[in-house]
Amino acid sequence: MTITLALPSKGRLKEQALEVLQKAGLTVILPKDQRNYRAQVDGDSKIDILFLSASEIARELGYGSVDLGVTGEDLIRETLSAADERVQIEARLGFGHADVVVAVPEVWHDVSTMADLDDVAAEFRQRHGRRLRIATKYWRLTQQFFSTMHGIQVYRIVESLGATEGAPASGSADIIVDITSTGSTLQANHLKVLEDGVILKSEACLISSRKNADPAAVAALAQRIKDALGSR
């Protein structure tokens, strides 16, 4: 039986994922045609490589239609409900670092914690005739962090598919939840991260589906990659 391993289809994530496999002695023979999304491992016909977008990998792992995958923890936790019941993080790969954070305009000098934000959200409707608006593409993470962890119920999510950090200036939202790695984009947009506003410290991970077809083979492959990471 073959195992399907999904890898990010482009960019730095793809290169770094291939490097990790290389270290584990798995050389991926890239297809000659760049438009082909399948590949093989040199000398191992039992592994199918599938190139997908990082968020598709998260979704397919949830369905169990791929057995293993490399993608960001943020996408796993955002895409899948009850993620830990459906997938398992086998290893943290040490690249693709990004924090999912709550950021507010710098000029909100009175807001430095989630407790402050709770006060602001509670009175927002009374003052402005609408709920506080949060721009994000991470609606699940936002909702869990605000509602479940901090008991903040009254806000609205404005789904944002790009340039989230521009939302407060453009007036489409008041604050944002987004990923940041260096913080420079936030700074350029006059936004600051709340002191207790880090929702998730994400990085690229090797992840297995709990619905995988061949647990023994998946575990062995995951172990092989983990061993290679440990020895670097």
């Binding site: 305009p105 000029v107 000098h109 409707r125 402005h128 009254v154 007036g171």
Partner: protein, 376 residues
């Protein structure tokens, strides 16, 4: 997945509630989603069935009746007082139980005699359960947001703290961590010197002028969201609060209050004793509570097992007074068979021009069906 079949007692129940001076209304199954997300919060998003129409407007399958019934009342510009009854399917994503189930209930809008309307709501709810499960052992838990707020005011806490604690009513974990926070120091973080000076002087106008310049420099429109004045005021408020500590005595009084759990028939006496012992004046909230207890007796449900739990509440900002739920003692794991409460703020939030008081309840018919089977 269980199918959507009206329980056998549905028509009898519809007859009972509509015979209680309430007009049976039809509410469309497909509803605009915004009204629910605006009122109940984004937490609801993962529990409702959302879709979009061609223009990108969010629609959902009716997740509950109270909000659309109130909206319907506002749109019809109907006269008050007015009572509405409903019975129909609701749709929610649940981890257990089916996604489609039936609810029935009564919404009582515009009755100025709140004590009587409250008692009537509880009586209607219990009568509805008794119709189907006459012998079930019931317990009705009753809470009161207004009493809690009166206790917070009597404690002499700063307004900001009162509001914060009032929001956590009914959420013991959050209340506890808030109390811990309030006993410790809060600060404004690292404020630039030019602002810190103005905060120390309490110069709201000067501060707002500085903040407005900052906003313009950052490309944020000072008129679009939080205004410079709003931020300035809160900065000064926070600086003042930082020096206040929650006295141990106030903390102890609050703990004593939250532990009160007594039969509703004796609850008013209990609250008066508590108030006297702490030299609190609970004012109109306690008078209203007492009037409600009398009305409960007059509504003929004085012999029911109704318990006042001082810590019981729902952390949603449209609930203003009474909240209650009825459970079956032999089926506690089912949760509430009925949930009800007073929502005097809801109709204004939904766009009513005049303030219209409201109280209502919803029965979970799938749960009612289970206790009916078990109790007979």
């Amino acid at each position: 997945m269980t199918g959507s079949r009206a329980p056998v007692f549905a028509s009898d129940l519809a007859a009972l509630i509509s015979a209680r001076d309430a007009e049976l209304v039809d509410i469309p199954v497909i509803q605009p989603a915004d009204q629910f997300l605006d009122m109940a919060g984004e937490d609801l998003r993962r529990r409702i069935f959302l879709t979009e129409n061609e223009n990108g407007q969010s629609l959902c399958l009716r997740p509950e009746f109270t909000i659309p019934v109130c909206r319907n009342h506002i749109e019809l510009n109907a006269a008050t007082p007015k009572r509405y009854a409903y019975l129909g399917e609701v749709f929610r994503q649940r981890r257990e139980g089916g996604n489609e189930f039936f609810q029935a209930g009564i919404e009582d809008l515009g009755d100025a005699n709140r004590a009587r309307a409250d008692a009537r709501s509880v009586a209607d709810a219990i009568a509805s359960i008794r119709l189907v499960a006459p012998n079930a052992e019931l317990e009705t838990l009753l809470g009161d947001q207004a009493i809690f707020e009166a206790v917070l005011a009597a404690l002499g806490l700063p307004r900001g703290w009162q509001k914060k604690l009032a929001r956590a009513f009914g959420n013991p974990g959050q209340l506890k961590s808030l109390l811990a926070d309030l006993s410790s120091n809060q600060n404004n973080g690292s404020l630039p010197e030019r602002l810190a000076v103005l905060v120390a002087k309490g110069d709201e106008a000067g501060l707002a002028a500085e903040l407005e310049q900052d906003m313009q420099a950052a490309g944020i429109s000072p008129g679009a969201g939080r205004s410079p004045h709003e931020i300035a005021r809160r900065l000064i408020e926070k600086a003042n609060l930082a020096s206040v500590k929650l006295p141990a005595q106030a903390f102890a009084a609050l703990e004593t209050f939250l532990a009160i759990r007594v039969p509703v028939q004796t609850a008013a006496t209990h609250l008066r004793t508590f108030a006297r012992a702490n030299e609190f004046d609970l004012g109109p909230a306690l008078d209203q509570f007492e009037a409600r207890v009398v009305a409960i007796r007059e509504a003929g449900i004085g012999q029911e097992n109704i318990v006042y739990d001082a810590a019981f509440g729902r952390p949603l900002d449209y609930y203003t007074g009474l909240v209650y739920e009825t459970r079956a003692l032999n089926n506690l794991d089912l949760g509430a068979i009925v949930g009800g409460g007073r929502y005097d703020r809801l109709l204004t939030m939904l766009g009513a021009v005049d303030s219209i008081p409201g109280v209502g309840f919803s029965i979970w018919l799938d749960r009612l069906e289970k206790i009916a089977g078990g109790a007979q």
